[in-house]
């Protein structure tokens, strides 16, 4: 360090000391501003969308991650354990209601209620931007826990751009049976290989697996968390920081929900393969599947390359035919009245169109049509009134 040679120790030390002090003061300041309840995966939904994890008769029937899913499992076991299960997997469309009013209900709540008389128990599990690789491992995991009779599976063009397994699901990949099942398909092997080296303990200690240092590090982290609130808020800080960078990117490059999102071939292929694996596995395990393309805002130009979107629907339809799966294209199900806007995801502010989350009326339509289709599925094509 050539430049240091000409400097006194004092001039080298001062920035270090004052910089450290400033760092701690600013972190303390931000720590007091952070909302510990804020879920950053939900943050991008904007304040106009309200997440609602549904309870029917005080039993949770809609869950969002692995920690939470136990509540749904317990609810099932403690209430109607003899009934066959309908599993509905999805993304934030299922648990968010745009401009929610009192007594508004999500489609998952409605579908659960519709099926009470049919002795079918509907459990919904939805996570923001969930990709089909995640649905695949969740499906296999829940197959071990529940007598699943039917799987309702939405496919979302946006989520075909997502990849990898989120931290909250990594625990599943420690289950030996799941690993065995995943190893039966090429995409399963890839999912396992890519995700298995990550840590899911929440302690961020993946590099220390099985070492003496792991124990010491856990002890030190626990101690520091109990004495220093900033250490406890680090995950929130990281989330905040990435969100701010995301907003900055959107502001600088003029990106908003109406910007065209292109197909990402690599991720698309992996998700498509994961979907094929789910359908094959469901067939093997005699689970009926209702596959649908999600409702999309159609009163404005859609934010996709139209050819890519069309070929996406064709490919999904083709796959469903080849695997003998019931398929629904619901892209035009929700009329424009039921769509809304959401707060901007850039620093410019204002409102942006929401292409994914609709109002309660849309949820009602979705629940109705899924229910009708399930009736057809279970009764060999005959509709039941409800």
């Amino acid at each position: 360090m050539k430049s240091n040679n000409k400097r006194t120790v004092f001039s080298l030390l001062t920035p270090l000391l004052i910089g450290s002090l400033l760092a701690v003061i600013s972190l303390n300041y931000f720590d007091s501003k952070i909302n510990p309840e804020l879920n950053f995966e939900e943050f991008a939904l904007g304040s106009e969308n309200t997440s609602s994890l549904e309870f029917v008769n005080n039993i949770q029937v809609h869950c969002y991650d692995l920690n939470n899913v136990n509540k749904c499992l317990e609810g099932y076991k403690n209430s109607r354990p003899d009934e066959e299960v309908v599993l509905w997997l999805g993304n934030s469309q299922l648990h968010s209601i745009n401009q929610m009013k009192v007594k508004d209900l999500t489609a998952s709540h409605l579908l659960h209620r519709f099926n009470i008389d049919n002795s079918k128990y509907v459990i919904t599990l939805s996570q923001p931007n969930a990709n089909l690789q995640e649905h695949y491992i969740l499906f296999e995991y829940l197959m071990e826990k529940l007598p699943i009779k039917t799987l309702v599976l939405p496919v979302v063009f946006d989520d075909m751009r997502e990849d990898g397994i989120r931290n909250s699901l990594l625990e599943i990949l420690k289950n030996k049976n799941i690993i065995k099942i995943l190893n039966e398909s090429n995409i399963g092997k890839k999912i396992y290989l890519n995700a298995s080296d990550k840590d899911s303990t929440g302690n961020d200690l993946s590099a220390l697996d099985g070492t003496i240092q792991e124990k010491v590090e856990i002890f030190l982290n626990t101690q520091l968390k109990s004495y220093w609130s900033i250490w406890n808020s680090r995950e929130q800080f990281r989330g905040q920081l990435f969100t701010r960078i995301y907003f900055l990117r959107n502001s600088l490059l003029g990106i908003n929900p109406s910007s065209v999102r292109k197909k990402i071939p690599g991720k698309y292929l992996k998700n498509f393969q994961a979907l094929a694996a789910v359908l094959e596995s469901a067939k093997k395990q005699k689970v009926e599947v209702l596959l649908y393309v999600v409702p999309l805002r159609n009163d404005v130009k859609i934010p996709y390359n139209i050819d890519e979107y069309k070929s996406f629907i064709e490919e999904i339809e083709l796959l469903s035919k080849s695997s003998d799966t019931r398929f629904l294209n619901l892209e035009n199900l929700v009329p424009s009245d039921y769509w809304g806007t959401k707060a901007s995801t850039s620093n410019i502010g204002g409102q942006e169109l929401d292409f994914m989350h609709f109002q309660a009326g849309g949820h009602q339509l979705l629940a109705d049509i899924i229910y009708k289709e399930l009736q057809k599925l279970w009764n060999g094509g005959n509709e039941y009134d409800f």
Partner: protein, 482 residues
């Protein structure tokens, strides 16, 4: 012990306080024991393996110094046999047995696969190289053998460099351990600053690039476009650079806290204007080791004994190409027991070979053209070399490289937009950092000290805040696996 952890920071602080409170002899014992503890935090059972290498070369070096020529050579061969034997057993046995079985099967001889479960001891590639260089230096009469075992052992197993270098020479370090310099605040301040830079580069930059690289390389290669291959080469190049240079910063800073000065291991390698220049800037201690203990002897050239990097001595020699390829193939294999690493080494040999052929022509160009044209050409060539370093197989590497030369393969993008954006930002940030460090800092140091100090206060407050937020041993340093 992993550097980017609370454990290491507390361990290092305790050792530094104890170090400066002790007289010389206990200080050496402290370093020796601290280094064993440091290593034992990973796996205690591999400490004996390390000590075998240390003890063997201690005694053999003493014997070599007092022996006649033929006996000397025999002892040197024995030392090499033991060190390379350890390295071969732990690092290469599975690789070579798999290849031998594969070859036998190819010839129609049915051999069942042998199931070997060998764990690679952390840092074995580094400490065996140090013990080899020590014994060879004694054999060459470049240094005298160290009689004090603890002093010598401190050179080999000194914890800041034990696991991933720099690969030090005895002549650079032992004399520093043998003195007891008076405490200076400068050691602490300079050391701390290096450690802060290092942890920042590791936990904030390298660890956040890693998921993008993993995701990119997990995409089926048929889908990758030429631009994706370039982006992945650049992105992994940045990841490995920030990861490894971070380790070197922390190693140099930790040693500095105890008044020990290590030679620099990196110097803005991606701003090199030729392959030769690149290897004077990248992992300098290893490239100079390979030069002095492998390449120059193979080329029949007398060697020096300093970790200064570069291969220019050999360019004067007529018999230079065969050793070049052999040395680089071995350098590749040193990084990992896989043919992809050998390919990486051979790629560099080819690049240097072409550079040497072109040298008479390019030396006639004007300085600016040589400098900027050199950087412009060297950077992508070096970045493409990272593809075999990270890809799964040789066939994947060639498939990916072939895309680069296919004009039709430039029409699409196979990864998320952020990946390209982040890669571009990182590339620009390297140029900005170099300009600030080499052009602006000297001006401010000379004329505008207040501005400099204020700027540094701001920089350190940001770096330290980000370190607090991101410090976690989520990923090992990439070079640990070598």
């Amino acid at each position: 012990m992993i550097f980017n952890s609370l454990t290491y920071l507390i361990f290092l602080s305790s050792i530094v306080i104890l170090y400066w409170s002790l007289p010389l002899k206990p200080r050496l014992y402290l370093i020796f024991l601290a280094s064993l503890v440091f290593y034992g935090f990973w796996r205690v059972e591999f400490i004996p393996v390390m000590l075998i290498s240390v003890i063997t070369d201690y005694f053999l070096a003493l014997k070599i110094a007092s022996s006649e020529r033929i006996r000397k050579k025999q002892l040197l061969i024995l030392s090499l046999f033991i060190n390379i034997g350890l390295l071969f057993y732990f690092k290469y046995l599975i690789f070579f047995s798999d290849n031998a079985i594969g070859f036998a099967n190819l010839l129609g001889i049915t051999v069942n696969p042998i199931l070997l479960n060998i764990i690679l001891p952390l840092g074995i590639s580094f400490y065996t190289f140090q013990t080899i260089s020590y014994t060879v230096d004694v054999y060459r009469n470049q240094i005298n053998p160290e009689k004090n075992f603890i002093l010598y052992a401190c050179y080999v197993i000194f914890f800041p460099q034990l696991i991933a270098g720099p690969v030090l020479r005895a002549s650079e370090v032992i004399y520093q351990f043998s003195k007891r310099p008076p405490f200076k605040w400068e050691f602490i301040v300079v050391g701390l600053r290096r450690i802060i830079y290092g942890i920042f580069l590791k936990v904030v930059i390298a660890d956040n690039i890693a998921p993008l690289v993993d995701s990119g390389f997990s995409i089926p290669i048929e889908i990758l476009s030429a631009l994706d291959v370039w982006t992945l080469g650049f992105l992994f190049g940045f990841q490995i650079y920030f990861d490894f240079s971070a380790y070197s910063h922390i190693a140099l800073g930790s040693a500095r806290l105890m008044g020990i000065k290590f030679p620099e291991n990196f110097n803005f390698p991606y701003l090199a204007n030729s392959p030769k220049d690149f290897w004077r800037r990248w992992h300098i201690s290893l490239s100079s080791w390979i030069r002095d203990y492998l390449y120059l002897p193979l080329a029949g050239i007398k060697v020096g004994s300093q970790s200064l990097g570069g291969l220019e001595k050999a360019t004067l020699n007529k018999n230079k190409n065969k050793p070049l390829f052999i040395a680089w193939a071995i350098m590749g294999l040193w990084h990992g027991a896989n043919w992809t690493f050998v390919l990486w080494g051979v790629y560099h040999a080819v690049v240097i070979f072409i550079y040497r052929i072109m040298l008479p022509i390019t030396s006639k160009f004007n300085q600016n053209l040589k400098l900027f044209g050199g950087i412009f050409l060297t950077l992508p060539i070096m970045m493409l070399s990272w593809i075999p370093f990270r890809a799964q197989s040789i066939s994947d590497v060639f498939y990916m490289w072939s895309k680069v030369f296919n004009p039709y393969s430039y029409a699409s993008l196979g990864m998320k937009e952020n990946t390209y954006l982040i890669t571009a930002c990182l590339l620009i940030s390297i140029f900005i950092t170099w300009t600030v460090k080499n052009k602006l800092l000297p001006i401010f140091t000379k004329n505008k000290k207040v501005v400099l100090v204020c700027g540094e206060i701001l920089v350190f407050s940001v770096l330290i805040s980000l370190i607090i937020i991101f410090l976690r041993p989520i990923n090992q340093f990439i070079y640990f696996q070598f």
